[in-house]
Amino acid sequence: MAESSTSAWAPSQRQLERERYRRSRSLRSTLIAGVSTLAVLAVAVTALVTSPGWPRVQETFFSWDKAVEAFPDILQGLWLNVRIMVGCGIAIGLIGISIAVLRTLRGPVFFPLRAFATAYTDLFRGLPLLLLIFLLGFGVPALRLSGLPSSALFWGCVALVLSYSSYVAEVFRAGIESVHPSQRAAARSLGLTYAQSLRHVVLPQAVRRVVPPLMNDLVSLQKDSGLIAVLGVIDAIRAAQISTAADFNYTPYVVAGVVFVSLTIPMARLTDWVARRQGFHGAGGMV
């Protein structure tokens, strides 16, 4: 039925004319964009290559041979960064959501838990991440407490988790508070307990809403995992540093930069895609 009604329809002259106009417009825009992009690139490259210091910069930062030599070690280091990101990411998610839930508890009985959660976010969001990495990575192993792991890698990861989970907790909290109280009332009126309402009604809606900002934090975590290089852990950045130290050629840093970016770009696109999908579902008729 739907088919016969569409086949009976033929666009009017006016509609055909509109479409012709739109096509010519979009062709023109594409041409302008292409030409201007090329022009800007050409100017930038010319300025770079004709600058007096270029030959020297090219040699110390963009040496192909050096890049090829450093690449395998950097890639191996990167594998560590990826593992750190995944492991810490999971811990951050779990701790973040727990802290957020503690912060939203109501009633005087829960004051100590609420106060703990507030102090946690205040402290670890306030401390610079690098400082936290130094304090835990060098400080705790130096205590030589038996029973505690002494690996710098472990404590570097703990620092990442503490810092990021305090940010992520606030994101989750915003999500929880954005769920309308009537949803909780509906759940409670069905006889669900406080915890069941949270688990089945509030949190699923809250988490859905905060996925885009959380993805953003994940991209950022991936980058910041490189900071634990300061503890001597051989990740991509530390591998680049070692290779650099041999002959003061900085190309390995550029290689490390490129591999990080090539890892974060797919993550960023995935974030965009998730955000678009969410926006579409959440805002109904959004254009």
Binding site: A187, S189, G191, Q205
Partner: protein
């Protein structure tokens, strides 16, 4: 036999704002009580107190002879014996219609999933939405969403249904489908307390009409008496404003 629900001297205040003053009410098994009154007169608060979504500041509420305002009772278990339907439906948007309905049977009443789904489908048939089991609430019209909300409450076999202005958010042409369903429930013997501005409907289904004014039940009695021959000037004033 004790009445299904009895309220004695119930008082509720928000800060200095006393929203319910000395409310007394008895609801017998199978009865339908309709609350009327101006916006802000305390109708919703009364229903929320009965469902223990609010804690009363004084007085006693008894359900089937048991005092439910005692702080030692298990409020979750008490709530699960009543069904509540809200003006704004409050379906869970992240779940399918079927999951909305089976949530409480599975999580609260310990019904196994297959049985719960079978009962939920039967309940959907009953409210005329048999084909909507897998739909999301947002894809339904307001009238359909409200009928799902009613099904969600009914599937738990509540002893008492509390309905708070369940047709107020609906387009006029969708009001009828929800009222028809409520009329049907009433004829099947469901005990209900509802709060509505549909006076025609109130006359048709109510056994008792209560007029609330400033948090007091100013007048209560059979619908023809309260709605057609009110004794209080305030009631007459309210009714004339509604009909105007």
């Amino acid at each position: 036999m004790a009445p299904l629900l009895r309220l004695t001297d119930v008082r509720k205040a928000f800060g200095d704002n006393v929203v319910l003053h000395d409310v007394d009410l008895e609801v017998e098994h199978g009865q339908c009580v309709v609350l009327i009154g101006a916006s802000g007169s305390g109708k919703s608060t009364l229903l929320r107190c009965i469902n223990l979504l609010e804690t009363v500041d004084d007085g006693v509420i008894e359900l089937e002879g048991e005092e439910i305002t005692d702080p030692r009772v298990d409020a979750d278990a008490i709530r699960s014996r009543m069904g509540v339907v809200f003006q704004s439906y409050n379906l869970f948007p992240h779940m399918s219609v079927l999951d909305n309905i089976t949530l409480a049977p599975v999580r609260v009443h310990g019904v196994d999933k297959a049985t719960a789904q079978r009962e939920a489908r039967a309940m959907l048939e009953r409210v005329g939405l048999g084909e909507k089991a897998t739909a999301r609430p947002d894809d339904l019209s307001g009238g359909q969403q409200q009928r799902v909300a009613i099904a969600r409450a009914l599937v738990n076999r509540p002893a008492l249904m509390l309905l708070d202005e369940v047709t107020s958010a609906l387009d006029p042409e969708l009001v009828g489908e929800v009222l028809d369903l409520l009329g049907q429930l009433k004829s099947e013997g469901m005990t209900m307390i509802l709060n509505t501005h549909e006076m025609g409907f109130a006359r048709q289904v109510a056994d008792t009409v209560c007029f609330l004014d400033g948090g007091r039940i100013l007048e209560q009695g059979p619908p023809d008496q309260v709605l057609l021959d009110p004794q209080q000037a305030r009631t007459r004033q309210f009714l004339s404003r509604i009909h105007a």
